[in-house]
Symmetry: C2
Subunit: 303 residues, 2 copies
């Protein structure tokens, strides 16, 4: 059973739309999301364009602030601060990654500078702390999208054993915390986990957030488990595509057309053992954007 994230994302966007309209009526302007895009990373350009389009469709105003890759940390901070101070700005998103020149410390300074009430990505330490304490308004979009997906497809979380592979700040850790809050017993695995296959094979709910194409193979998955694939990996090698899908799979036609394809962290053959799983594309990805729109209206209303 494939979990249709795209369909659920549409539902969430339909729920957001009347709230956006009501805000517009009450305040004489739509809720406004400001995206700060630094440099010219091609993937970031696509992500930002998708966010712009989805926001516009939901009735939000989306403003993109493009800064050259050569800017200093101070330049980015100045942009963030002006948005913090702008009463007509409801949500601020700084598209990651920032250019190499900004550095790890500079990146922290930039994300820490965002007003937590406008932090629609939910990455600010204050919001992360509130998430731990079960009282966050703005939660990271991908993991909160996964919870929506499970809820809206009737997959119980409470009392289940959830295993999360990956411990990033953006997915793994908040995912584990959200599942814990919903009364799952949660195990967090990572590159230093010695018995990864055996540990994953005990999961009722398995979340893969590692960034390695097809890494989670059949033996990772207990029969009937719910498998959530957070990976979005570009495969450029036809050989690898054939290894993943077999030589006769319809998706190879797409590969041959474009010279690459997007695959998840979960091997396609897992579909034969999983009770339910998310496809890539069309699973978690669309939910991430839907939750961003939801966070924007939450931020606008909550301020």
């Amino acid at each position: 059973m494939l979990l249709d994230g795209a369909r659920i994302a549409r539902t969430i966007r339909e729920e957001v739309a009347p709230r956006v309209a009501a805000f517009d009526t009450a305040h004489g302007r739509p809720p406004t999301l400001h995206i700060v895009l630094v440099g010219d990373d091609p993937a970031s350009q696509i992500y930002v364009r998708n966010k712009e389009r989805a926001g516009a469709e939901a009735g939000l105003t989306v403003a993109v602030h493009r800064l050259a890759s050569s800017v200093t940390v101070e330049d980015v901070l100045a942009t963030v601060k002006s948005l913090n101070d702008d009463p007509a700005c409801d949500g601020i998103l700084v598209q990651a990654p920032l250019p190499k020149g900004i550095g790890k410390h500079g990146t922290e300074l930039v994300f820490d500078a965002i007003d937590p009430r406008k932090d629609v990505d939910g990455f600010h330490p204050h919001n992360v702390g509130l998430l731990v304490q079960g009282r966050a308004v703005l939660k990271p979009c991908t993991p909160s999208g996964v919870v929506e997906l499970l809820d809206r497809t009737g997959h119980a979380i409470a009392g289940k054993h959830a295993v999360v592979i990956g411990r990033s700040e953006i997915v793994g850790k908040p995912m584990a915390l959200l599942l814990l809050q919903r009364d799952a017993t949660v195990t967090i695995c990572h590159s230093k986990t010695p018995d990864l296959v055996a540990t994953c094979a005990r999961a009722d709910i398995l979340v893969a957030a590692i960034g390695r194409p097809g890494f989670v193979t059949r033996e990772f998955v207990k029969a009937g488990a719910v498998v959530i694939d957070v990976g979005i990996n570009r495969v450029d090698s036809r050989e690898q595509a054939v290894q993943l899908f077999g030589a006769n799979h319809p998706r190879l036609a797409g590969f041959d057309q474009r010279g690459s394809m997007i695959v998840g962290d979960v091997h396609p053959a897992v579909a034969e053992v999983a009770g339910a799983m998310t496809p890539v594309p069309g699973g978690v990805g669309p939910l991430t954007i839907a939750m961003l729109l939801k966070n924007t209206i939450e931020a606008a209303v909550d301020r």
Copy 2:
């Protein structure tokens, strides 16, 4: 093998002492910890007295602000705010629990009002978020004490499977996050975990933080596991004491003298299977206070 928390706590206090002296020399005053004690909960009186004494022994100034149990949230907030504004105050600790009249929301307002740079308990959402992100200066005392204990007794954390029973904000969650940060694979269990015994029996490091005397029995523990007992439970029934320790245990003499005894969450018989375990009392408890002193000098230096 009993893990002598009291001895390690002494070592940490000996390491804190010269830093306190150096601060005193540099600033013309010792680092200062302010404790806000609201109401007359007898256990809180004892805890605060112990913190006062330990602070004084380490060369800190400890000031206790006693407020009647009838005070309003605004009164407590006013005290916290005056301490935030006091340049000679380095650390602020509001002793939990606050009186019933303050309520859950009032308690949140009070803890959220503490300047994160003075938050020596590490409970402020901002510090909790930094903990998740692996960059906290002020970490909750009990779980960071447990990490010190493991490190200083030569028990590796990286690559181990750690199971934490309990998901409180004060112990369970930060404990799991700290162990994860140190490259353990971490499972968090709680009252809704269906197969608690089997899950715990897979742990290399088992941390019990539930608050139920002797709850963790032999079958929870893999042979050779390191067992950390965070429980501090008062047992008033002689029958229960005999059930835990057997009729001829030397600790029953103490019970008969005082009419009660302090026991952990781990059953004494676990000593027969564990590779190492912390006693109660004398295990994690003294470390919690030592880490509070350490946090106070960190806060004083870091501001």
